[in-house]
Symmetry: D4
Subunit: 161 residues, 8 copies
């Protein structure tokens, strides 16, 4: 399957968080690629990744990072594709540092930020962006949301029983 | 011009902030609609808006709100389209309340959050989502980013002179 | 016993917190109902719940939610009954996100917010609202407060001994 | 008109904030009394106020205070009536101190907390508590909410025109 | 030994924290009394305690409390003696709530606040207040500080060895 | 009049805040000295000040500072006298930096911290410490508190009229 | 004079803050260069700047930026020279966002962070780094610190007079 | 090997954090000394340390401390050498107190602050300062950064495989 979503993270220690993005994309039948790209330790690699993504057919980039989290914003500065940022929870500041570093971008370079450790939602948001133009993806997003509704109602029934 | 971006806000007092989204979309030649929809004061109107947006050709919704900012998240729960949330700055908590209320969405219902008062970036992000599928929009986004580069370099020259 | 307090929560994972509300109501001999209603995953169910509560004899609604906690505020927008909000503690932001999302409601739509994870107090507050009009409930609230006094004094005696 | 809501504040400098509670109660045709009671400067007066309120026919107490805001919680400890707390905005901490001092009450002594400077909502919340038992008040609350809806829709129309 | 320092706490669950104050006072040979006094659950007991402390020979009161921590401030409002407040660490807000509730007192009613869970320092501070007038206590405080110096220097030597 | 309270501040820009301490001491008939001592710019002067204060008859030191506010804690490390710290409000962090730098002292070196910009209370607290041993000062403190009570009651009467 | 310190900032709107760095360097007789380099708007320019600085004789880089402030950290990732970061104050988050984005760098890529808007100290810190190897610069740094001491003592004398 | 970096910490409980600075310096072949110096418990020792460091050949001081962390700033006030501050994580405030106490220094006395618990980066930053004048150290810093790049690329390859 052709990858249309690129998932990157600043360190492989972010993998347990970030693979939730991969998992939901798989569940929704969307092709993705996943790798480690560090803004600070591999700046050249980051440049290349950001500059070449569109040419490879990528339509959305999901980037996760923690602390002084520069990866999502720097990738956003190097591409015209939409970039979704996942603030990874940190030990001392619980991810507030990651959140502020990702969401408070200056005018001209937006990053679509999701919740701290919200990689699953990042994947889903990528799917929704694709779904705005690919009706089959949109249908699968709606079906997924419907399944959430059913699950909650099931639990409500149990609880009320 | 057919509106493909829907801009809504919780109160008309958010207009000075939110019209920045409209302005950049205009600059990029993208059709949009703009109105007031309050999650708390007009919940039925919000339901209708969210449910009917896609049918009207809307591909991305930009929603701004302040304080206990429920509009972006509630609209996201009612549509399969991507929703961009703009946390509007507040008097006592400077928009940290708006930011947390918008970005910390539960798994299953993402909101693409931008900076506090970052409506311009919300518009630009919407354009980038469209641009992933509409090559002409993508080109205009790149040209806009190029203009930012030129502007910064001009200022650098002045300063160095 | 006729339910006069409705206890709802955004997810069944909130149950360990929210059942404290049920427990104190039971202790005070007040009828209640308890179920799961998710603002984001079951918006229609939430509408119905909020619109029909009063007709069923409910006089106060206690709503608990965490993160971008929209349930209490949205229910408050859909009913004229008083709504008590319980901010549930979250993993990354310890419930500050929940607190701000619940307490910072805009003019016109109040939510009576209690402490983070303060479900017991939510139940007690509901009882106090009823007690303002039902003298027997008021008496039981006073007796409960009296029992707290006795307990503290007992501990003081032990400590001083 | 018989006062059923008691509005108190820690200092007369809180009056510009707290009179919003009085104003909305007037608008809704609900009798109220309003005075200054300081937990720290007039503790005896506070005791008397809290102990005698119910006997005077008061059914809800609205208490506003800023900084180390002890008034709402101390009054709540001295009465079985529901107490609504209004965290007043402060100069250095913007009311976060007031908010935490009011909302984080220990088990057994709830305070129904509203937004920072949210006195209008405090008044409205008091009305909703009364309305749960007084149908005419409930009707007026609903009419007020309806007027908010109409106002928003009017602004939406203007904006869309 | 005549008690000159009164140690009180809002709940016996604060004892593990607050007994550090007792321990250092013992170490410095200063008489103290220790008990539970809850501002919210035993307001009358608190009144009596604060009003009678001076008559019993108490010269400083150390009061510990957590969350909406009203005990130190309320006791300070009821006595002319200096009151030292110990913000007890809390589960959701780590004691920031306790700190703000204790330190942000209004003009006229100071509370001498120490670090979160800083009961040892509260005891020491009480000793320093006494020491300003009782030379033998002052000497013991200096000797204690000298012992800290020696201990640090011992550790430095070990580390450098 | 013999100075028994020493008021120091890190910079003369803190004077508008810190003179409130002097004013209340004057009002209470307590002798004080006031000067500028910077922990960072005049460390030697600070050493001398702290070491010699007691010999001059000083019984309490009030120290105000902003930002990385080291003056109160460093003075406390150099004397056995009680030190009261006043966190001065700052431009970017509103005094939260000052507060944390002053209140979070390690075991062994307490600083009696008052509210941000709470210099008046610092003066009053110093008076209360003196009053624990000087009955006339204690009486004047009580009279001052009584005057606050009267003032609040006067305002209450006006408001109720 | 040969520039040994490079001062850069993310936007020319940071100039009023950042020129304090230039001013103190001038005062200390240290050559510097100053320009605008935006991590987000001119990423290529930033690469070139960081890669070529050492070759031009630069020994320390001072970089100021606000919000999601990526400039200092990204430059640090591209050079082996020490980088000093100045968090510029922002409108909604007062520079806490800038501070966290600059100081919370991951292991391997340090940024020497100074106070919010602390550009003067950034310049001084650069001078101190040079001074560790250039005795004349060290002497001028000491003379500057001495002048601060004299100034404070002069103010103390005035105040005490 | 001649020590050119001095590593100090406020308490030996900071050693597990601070030895990361020593470790990286060793790895880079840079001589260092390491000991305990407490601003609060051994102020005289701190004076001596700061005043004599340069004479011993020290070119940079790395100082770690937690809570009201005065060590880095006080040392900086007593020497003309650059001082790097490491905010040590604390139990109640997670090191935000340490960070603010270290980074928010007043004009004239900079401290080069790194991340909370960022001792490794403090060591590396010291090396970079030396490297600006010692070409061999600079080369080893670049080699270290290169090794980080290689490591990340290795992990990327594994992940992509």
């Amino acid at each position: 399957m052709q990858a249309t979503v690129g998932i990157i993270m600043g360190s492989d220690s972010d993998l347990p968080v970030m693979q939730e993005a991969a998992k939901i994309l798989e569940e929704l039948g969307i092709g993705y690629e996943l790798t480690v790209v560090s803004a600070h330790r591999t700046p050249d690699r980051m440049y290349t990744y950001a500059k070449e993504a569109k040419g490879r057919g990528i339509k959305v980039i999901v980037a996760g990072a923690g602390g002084a989290a520069h990866l999502p914003g720097m990738v956003a500065s190097l591409t015209g594709l939409p970039v979704i940022g996942v603030p990874v929870k940190t030990k001392s500041l619980s991810g507030v540092d990651s959140l502020y570093s990702i969401v408070q971008m200056p005018p001209g370079i937006p990053v679509a930020t999701v919740a701290i450790n919200g990689a699953k939602n990042a994947g889903l948001l990528a799917a929704q962006m694709l779904g705005a133009f690919q009706e089959d993806v949109h249908e699968r997003v709606l079906a997924y949301k419907e399944s959430l509704r059913t699950m909650v109602e099931g639990k409500a029934e149990e609880l009320e029983a």
